[in-house]
Symmetry: D2
């Protein structure tokens, strides 16, 4: 948490009028004006390369021209912007496209729920329906999980600073060790099984397990494919629903559309938001296997669940996924990043730590935790926007738009390398 004052005079309006809760503007102290794909410019014309991508909401870049074109056309034709959950052309097109491009190729028949246009809403809806369908109340979540900031989602989020913000006890959740939490030698699934199968353990059979295939906020911790498969199996055997929160990691962030595609699992419930809206527009969906789509009409709702500009942008964005090409592009970019990160321990052995993540969400976890934040500061001074994550903000995290041009990526990585050099010099 960065409490530093916003000292630049041009930030006066924010200092004077906006709540103390604002945070990123404290780390990136300037007023941004324009943005295009992987670059931003501030009011003074300074250019920044974006390795943050709206925390995963801008996988297709800033002001993606194809998507923008569709949005403006739609608006100019008096297309409906806001429709609650009435039927519209825009929604129909999105539903059809989502089925064709995402569900059908996987042989899935999940129903699409529009729960309100934010990730936390998608999670709240998932928890509600899981509890309704099973008649149970506990949700099993994992160490360092992040699922949102409203009371239901916060109860399954691990971060103690965020949790304490609730002001009341967060209940009906139980936390279990994520894959690798106790080191590579400990199989956390067998640990969990013993608790679930022991009627004296104090740990009840939960309504659902909620999990991220790769924990973004939690510090880029990856679950192995075997672990995810095992988790799916564990759930099935005990009639527990599996909720996959792919809000940050979905829409190609790790390579394939879903971060868990390679594990070959089919979660009962999947939460998507952030980049599903294609253009940075608020949108979220909760996918439900048909047999658990046991909602009464209107049992969960929200004013902005029919954000049709989101549908328009999302429909266009899904075109990226009609072929395998886009995923290959991501992987090429991922390799460049991986190379730079893997060089860190070689070039700067004093930065003890490890490379984490995959696809276009990779990072370096520093043992001296404060170095990650310092690296982010230095990088910003050099024109690169990147953030930290992890329980101690100890992971420097690189997540450019998936559509970043190769040149821009290389340019950004060069800035990163210069910043590492400076960090190394400072530490000497």
């Amino acid at each position: 948490m960065n409490n530093q004052l916003l000292e630049l005079p041009e930030l006066n309006v924010f200092n004077d009028l906006e709540s103390e809760v604002r945070s990123y503007c404290r780390n990136f102290q300037t007023v941004f004006e324009k943005a295009k794909n992987a670059k931003l410019w501030d009011r003074n014309g300074n250019e920044y390369i974006d390795f943050f991508a709206g925390a995963g909401a801008l996988n297709y870049g800033h002001n993606n021209e194809k998507i923008r074109g569709k949005l403006i056309d739609y608006m100019m034709q008096d297309g409906i912007t806001h429709s609650l959950d009435m039927a519209t052309n825009a929604k129909e097109t999105f539903l059809t496209q989502f089925q064709e491009v995402i569900l059908k190729p996987r042989g899935w028949n999940h129903k699409v729920m529009f729960p309100g246009p934010t990730g936390t809403n998608a999670v709240e809806a998932a928890l509600k329906i899981a509890r309704k369908v099973t008649g149970r109340s506990t949700i099993l979540s994992f160490t360092n999980a992040f699922h949102g900031m409203t009371l239901g989602s916060l109860a399954v989020t691990g971060n103690s600073f965020k949790r304490e913000g609730a002001g009341i006890a967060l209940t009906h959740s139980v936390f279990m060790p994520y894959d690798g939490y106790y080191g590579d030698d400990v199989d956390t699934l067998s640990y969990i099984k013993k608790l679930l199968d022991d009627p004296g353990s104090g740990v009840p059979i939960p309504a659902a397990v909620i999990v991220e295939a790769l924990q973004g906020e939690g510090g880029l911790n990856s679950a192995s494919q075997e672990w995810l498969k095992g988790l799916e199996q564990l759930c099935k055997e005990r009639d527990i629903l599996l909720i996959l929160d792919d809000i940050q990691m979905g829409c190609g962030r790790t390579g394939p559309f879903f971060s868990f595609d390679d594990a070959g699992i089919e979660p009962d419930i999947i939460c998507l938001s952030k980049s599903i809206g294609g253009f940075g527009l608020p949108m979220a969906i909760t996918l439900l296997k048909p047999e658990i789509d046991m909602w009464e009409p209107g049992e969960h709702n929200g004013t902005f669940r029919g954000n049709n500009l989101g549908f328009i942008a999302a429909t266009e964005a899904l075109n990226y996924w009609k072929t395998k090409e886009f995923q290959l592009d991501v992987e090429i970019r991922a390799k460049s990043i991986r190379k730079v990160l893997e060089d860190i321990p070689v070039k700067y052995p004093e930065f003890c730590g490890e490379t984490r993540g995959r696809g276009l969400i990779q990072g370096f976890a520093f043992e001296r935790q404060e170095l990650a934040g310092r690296l982010s500061e230095i990088s910003f001074d050099h024109g690169l926007i990147m953030e930290t994550s992890g329980p101690h903000s100890e992971v420097a995290k690189l997540m450019p738009p998936l559509t970043i041009e190769i040149d821009t990526l290389e340019e950004g990585l060069k800035i990163l390398e210069r910043s590492l050099e400076q960090l190394s010099a400072e530490e000497r």
Copy 2:
């Protein structure tokens, strides 16, 4: 709750692919394509007059041209769409405009918090900060209150159908009778005071009271100015924070910008969403008196709290409030509606009930509760979209865009009159 099947073949895509939770599309069975100010057109070219206005999210009408122009300009200049809570031009302009047009004229210095772009997020943030600041946990809410669908907001929402959807107990809230709940003769405030001041009552001093000045979903119940003033006083004397949820009633829905302006109160916390975004775009703000803006940076956050298209639209929309003219326009329209509603008991004495609401949210509460829903059906068949509210969906509710042309309003009211006539004929 309407479980009726969507039988029109053109709704097949929705029937096949969307979750059972969808609701309004069951009442208004067609696929909408275009909209302009107070009119919508479906795919088959049928025209509908909109007396629903996105449940209050479209106070400035569909595709408001002034706002749309600003949006398209901004997008074409590569303005930033999504910025988390980094500083942007668009946000600065909104903050300045909001201060000039809304806060300064009232002599207020509330801080503006962007809690995530939906009403429920604005409420969750309000509850969190109230609990943090006071160190207490209970929130006092009112009978028939509606504040949102995520777990924190749902706990202060009265509707049992929505509450049961939570699947777990909703705690830390206590419900008290709203103004008029026990009839005009009972002063519910004195009732509440006795409970709060009795250390044996079982009702603790709450962190905050959350209240709507006019309950929309709850059935268009109005609190009197005296009651609101008394409530503010009650809170002050006991160091309880007053949260005013103006999500549906704010932005001019009842006439003045805030629905409680006439009561002369200054709530500690105010929640706005729905029409604050101007164009039906997801946006929300929570206003906090400076002394209670005790957040740590990032203690509450959300991916879409920096929806800059919302800031652009909101800034333009606030221009409506620079003079008194807009409010007068609303009042003229309100009178036309009032006249029609007040004629109902005269023309159709068999429709026992009463007129409710004010400004451009008025309605008729039927004693035979099912008539409200039937009236909505008939109206839709005649080309008028209007909804019901209240615990038994017993109130037929009229809430056109504030910008509705006089002609369109009159046309809509004629449809309403024809529909009433048909309803009367059916009931005979």
Copy 3:
């Protein structure tokens, strides 16, 4: 709450070794040694008349000789003292006697549950079974109710000082105004009905209502017979269970065996403790209508649920109830007390207040709340033990053993009158 130091040197052992939580020993500062029926003697031979009766646990007096004889016989014959819930002669005899003397004459067939030997245990068991049988979770309780100090019972207890002692939120309870809470003109039942029958009120249909027919700790507030009948009706119509907590008021404290006998109701669940054990011995029972006795074996248990000395004493004590004579004796004594209390406003008009209670639990509620405590202090100095109750400890409470000799009663009342005189003198 009395924080005064225990200054007498003879209380040193308690000051040094016992927890700060001790309370009555702060008000009655001496070391008691012996007791017989309605009198106690301290270590220095001072005599005290007991108008407190173990807070209702000593209805049959201290060291009741008939009961003591039975106990000693039983012990000398190697009767079983502790049996968990195994079958014993002593328990069989008690069950039979309870059926003959209490249940059968009322035409009841409640099952007897031994939930652990304290009142709070009887209440916890009642709440558990009510939730199990109905599948609902909320318990409706009343302002100024007192039901116990363990977490379940505390959640339905009104006193804020006791509640805050929990250290965590007390949930799944909702408090409603007791009979007369808003004055004689307000029918609190109709108030409650409106909330229960309004699906938007935020107040759910509870599993059960828990109520005292006369609130002891809450300040000697009486429910009328009509109100109790109405409450029973209200519950029946909505399939809500009625729990009558007769822990303090039962066993004849108000005259008849059950404090609600005159109201002609038959509660679904009845909690008894305190004087049921006859001799001040820990014992409690929860009576359940057969159709709600849906426990699994051992689903609630407790080490001391089979306190056989309690069964022996209880069986003997129930002999008092074989005829109407005992109740008549109580009523005679009650009249003497009533007379003295009703004279207070006449003799001492400066003591504004009112007479409360009935049977052998009556008192005077002082408007100047601190006078009750002062009266108790003065009385103790004069050799009379009496306590206060009410949310502000504003009620001076007289509750001698039911078996108090007429002479002792008169003697005690004389001390009371002298004490009132002194109080009046002090206040002049």
Copy 4:
């Protein structure tokens, strides 16, 4: 759980009048009449050896003559039976004796709290004060812990059958693996430390840890001395209070007075009940280090917290602990039992399983879980009362009075051996 019908005609009264919740009377189907030290007799004169000892409430045997003598003397002298928490001779004597015999030799200065006369009350008081003192709410408990049946204690009890009886969610507790839960190779303390020290784990720093040094109901699982020391250290370093629940295992059940004496720890809070009352009389105490005795007077209370017969019996019983002799007697008896249990796998290799426990609470855990219950049945038929424990009732448990005569013990063990033989024959 044994649902079998009580078919004996002599149990008719219980079948007809007592609640279905009764349990032990279903396993031991007879009506008991008399008892002396380690023997019981039923109404038909059948003799039973008692290897159950009131689930640990009868450590000094049935009708212990020394204690009984004191009780009868006290009663005959009109000693006070019931005193709430007023000062009495009997209480003073107990406090002094407890300090002399128990606290002073250990160099402790814990304050003695009388929280109500049952174990669950002692635990509820412990949890309350821990939450008050620390300002935190979570309690860390262990797999297979048993702490009581009222709502607060039940929340820290592991058994799912008992937990589900609550009818509502049990919150503010978190369960961690007890010593040995994952086998001898896994150090569960280091597991717990990682969770507590990780701000992202979702597991908060608790107010207190509550633990049994040997889990009775949980299946005779023992914590090692090192583990208990480590746990004390873990708590101290994080400012967490350590609550030792010695309700069943204290008062010499495992050999020394406290079950954790050998580990050399000094818990912040210690709960005692069951045998503290000496004679099977309801009594409980909660010991608090002086610095955490932060109660307000009366903040926790209870009608029977001053059960003076309990004080009289307890004072006499503590005489057993004035020398080391009594503990040596226990150890001699423990060896005899150990020998028989350790022979089981040798004599009956088909009974896979293991010997558990120490002192006079030892048992055999059968791999074929149902055999424990069958062994108990057979033993009862042969005149031996013993029970099972563990999450699957898989442990046959031997816990005679500590005062059992050597002859009676040998006789009981012979019955056990005959029963094992019969069990083996049945299984062949």
